[in-house]
């Protein structure tokens, strides 16, 4: 039963992840004044890449990098409950908690960074370095917000955190914390102005530079699932989770659309600027939010 539940969760994350990616391409196309590709495009892209005849590798660590990253994404999906009540779609969330998930979010990227590093491509490593440099500022506001939420709920357990919001969601109870977390979240989703990691005009394709064929397909799939997990995390922490699948879809979609639209009207900061910005504005919001707790 649990196994079926887990598979269902992965399927939902995979499906909605790619669906949202397709929607992202469409929505940003509308902002640009174009028609985007069809929604099926991202699925077919990943399948096409997966069945490519040949892909280059630089050795066993390069081969394992995307696998570790995808495993990290899978773990993230499984350890965040999809719904705030009931038995189904809870995954392994009772075996972990918010702190575990916050750290799991970094595990996959670190594994992939090992793969990127073993390719010996300077652009890849520069991308990773940018990511890690940004991370030190990106996580701080999110951590502050998460700490506030945990202290408020008196637990790091997702179920209790969501239950504590049954009367009023954290977004309204702690608007400053939400604002801090949301700005971080934009960065986690790789949206402007914090999209420094794979900035094509600067570091070629960043960490993805050397990956091709099935490796790229795996990376695309994990990124779709991973972004769904991030949406899920935000919904659970600040919007009280979801009672049923429909509500979950609605909430994640709203969050996702907000991130997409904000992302398409800002220029990219440089790494240093994004670190400085994140340390100043959202961190300050977070600290004030904690003080008001």
């Amino acid at each position: 039963m649990l196994l079926l539940d887990l598979l269902l969760m992965l399927l939902i994350a995979y499906g909605f992840g790619f669906l949202y990616y397709g929607l992202y391409r469409n929505l940003s196309a509308r902002v640009h004044g174009r028609f985007g590709p069809s929604l099926a495009q991202s699925f077919s892209d990943s399948i096409k890449l997966f069945v490519k005849e040949e892909s280059t590798t630089f050795g066993w660590m390069f081969y394992l990098g995307p696998v570790i990253m995808a495993s990290g994404a899978v773990l993230n999906v499984l350890f965040i409950p999809f719904l705030n009540q009931g038995e189904s779609l809870q995954g392994l969330s009772s075996y972990g908690n918010l702190i575990v998930v916050l750290y799991l979010m970094v595990l996959g990227p670190l594994g992939n960074a090992l793969g990127v590093g073993s390719s010996g491509n300077p652009f890849g490593v520069m991308g990773v370095t940018r990511g890690l440099t940004r991370l030190l500022a990106l996580e701080l506001p999110f951590y502050l917000a998460a700490i506030g939420v945990m202290i408020d709920a008196g637990s790091a357990d997702f179920g209790i955190i969501m239950q504590a919001q049954s009367t009023q969601s954290n977004m309204f109870a702690h608007p400053l914390l939400f604002a801090a977390a949301f700005i971080s979240f934009l960065g986690f989703m790789g949206k402007s102005p914090f999209d420094v990691v794979g900035a094509p005009q600067e570091v070629y394709s960043g960490p993805a530079t050397e990956f091709s064929g099935k490796f790229l397909a795996l990376l695309m799939s994990q990124s779709a699932m991973f972004s769904f997990a991030k949406l899920l995390l935000m919904v659970n922490l600040f919007w009280g989770g979801a009672d049923h699948l429909g509500e979950l879809v609605a909430k994640t979609f709203v969050l996702f659309v907000a991130a997409t639209f904000i992302g398409s009207v800002y220029a990219r900061f440089s790494t240093v600027q994004s670190v400085e910005f994140l340390i100043r504005i959202p961190t300050l919001l977070g600290i004030v939010g904690l003080a008001l707790l």
């Binding site: 940003s28 640009h32 004044g33 600067e202 398409s264 220029a267 990219r268």
Partner: protein
């Protein structure tokens, strides 16, 4: 062996490069310690080809020297040939030339805006401005039959009469663009995130810049109101009213602001052209026959103000129907070497594309 500095290539296959060139960068972290420009990925030997061609044959080549803005090349070529061969151009043809040049300038600025916004990851602006540039290209297609390469400004005048209702359509397009420029102001020029990226980056400053041969927005961005249309007028620019916008900061943002104002000035010039253009008049002078069209053994130098700076042609005839020597110097040669190389040292890698775009570097005109 100490391996502190890594060497990377920014181009030729790099999304952050303008065209087919590369900058070899030595990086300490992401800080540039040495930059070296490399060209040669696109050398087509146009100057050599032109030496073996008659004027009409050479004419088809010159527009290809600069892709984003071919018309200043045609104008330069025509002006140089006319000066050597002693041909006078009618007033109507001159107005049409000014119109074409200003439309091309507007198109080039929109294209620049796409590049500049793309270099900071603001793709939306690029999508919009490329669409708007396409509307200008549509008009070019009606006028000349070609969208990018027009082959329109020929020695002696221009090659085709305006199609019916062209000026009205141009006027309507100008109204539309005027409105669009406000949208660009909001999304791009006044965007706080672009300002944060652009202010204080790539600063060119001081009296010395005049002596180093820079031109275009580089000069105007540091407070020198230099514009060949005003300083060394050609065609009918001395009869048209326009301002030369300047800024004093000398950074990327100052150059962007100069371009923003120049787009409005171009629209202003085009409106005057529409109003003042004579209804009647020859558009082409009588020219000698193909093989008889010879240039005397003389030389001359002409320069026009392109959207990116001074575009100069040196042309020498030798009494035959071939051109003995035509040497092209666009603004990019100086900007990409003697300006860009020292300017990049000490900058971050993320500013390379930004600075390069703001200097208006276009490799095809360096390599011809």
């Amino acid at each position: 062996m100490e391996r502190k500095v890594i060497t990377i290539y920014h181009g030729p296959q790099h999304p952050g490069i303008t065209g087919n060139m590369s900058v070899e960068l030595d990086l300490m972290g992401e800080t540039i310690t040495r930059a070296r420009t490399h060209v040669g990925y696109l050398h087509r030997g146009f100057e050599k080809l032109i030496e073996r061609r008659t004027i009409i044959q050479a004419f088809t080549i010159v527009c290809r020297i600069c892709v984003p803005e071919p018309d200043p090349n045609e104008a330069n070529f025509a002006l140089a040939v006319e000066r050597l061969a002693g041909i006078e151009v009618s007033e109507r043809a001159s107005y049409i030339r000014v119109m074409v040049l200003e439309m091309a300038r507007l198109g080039a600025q929109l294209l620049w805006m796409a590049g500049q916004s793309g270099s900071v990851g603001l793709g939306t602006v690029g999508q919009w401005s490329i669409y708007d540039r396409d509307l200008i290209l549509d008009l070019f297609e009606q006028l000349t039959g070609g969208r990018v390469y027009h082959m329109y400004i020929y020695p002696g005048g221009v090659r085709r009469e305006l199609p019916d209702g062209f000026l009205e359509r141009l006027s309507a397009l100008l109204d539309y663009l005027q409105k669009r420029l406000d949208a660009y102001d909001r999304l791009f020029f006044d965007n706080a995130s672009f300002q944060k990226r652009a202010i204080g980056v790539g600063v060119v400053r001081g009296e010395e810049v005049l002596r180093r041969g820079f031109s275009g927005q580089v000069l105007r961005g540091c407070g020198f109101a230099r514009d060949l249309r005003r300083d060394n007028p050609y065609l009918l620019y001395d009869q048209l009213e326009f301002d030369i916008p300047t800024q004093s900061a000398g950074d990327v943002y100052a150059r962007a602001l100069v371009r923003r104002a120049e787009m409005r000035e171009s629209i202003r010039i085009l409106r005057q052209v529409i109003a003042q253009m004579p209804e009647e008049g020859a558009i082409m002078q009588k020219l000698p026959k193909h093989r008889k069209f010879t240039l005397p053994k003389e030389d001359t130098y002409v320069a026009v103000e392109s959207a990116r700076g001074e575009f100069g042609y040196y042309m020498a005839g030798d009494g035959s129907e071939m051109i003995r020597r035509m040497q092209v110097k666009g603004p990019s040669l100086i900007h990409a070497f003697s300006l860009l190389e020292p300017l990049l040292v000490g900058e971050e890698l993320s500013n390379v594309a930004l600075i390069m775009n703001s200097l208006g570097i276009c490799p095809p005109e360096i390599e011809r």
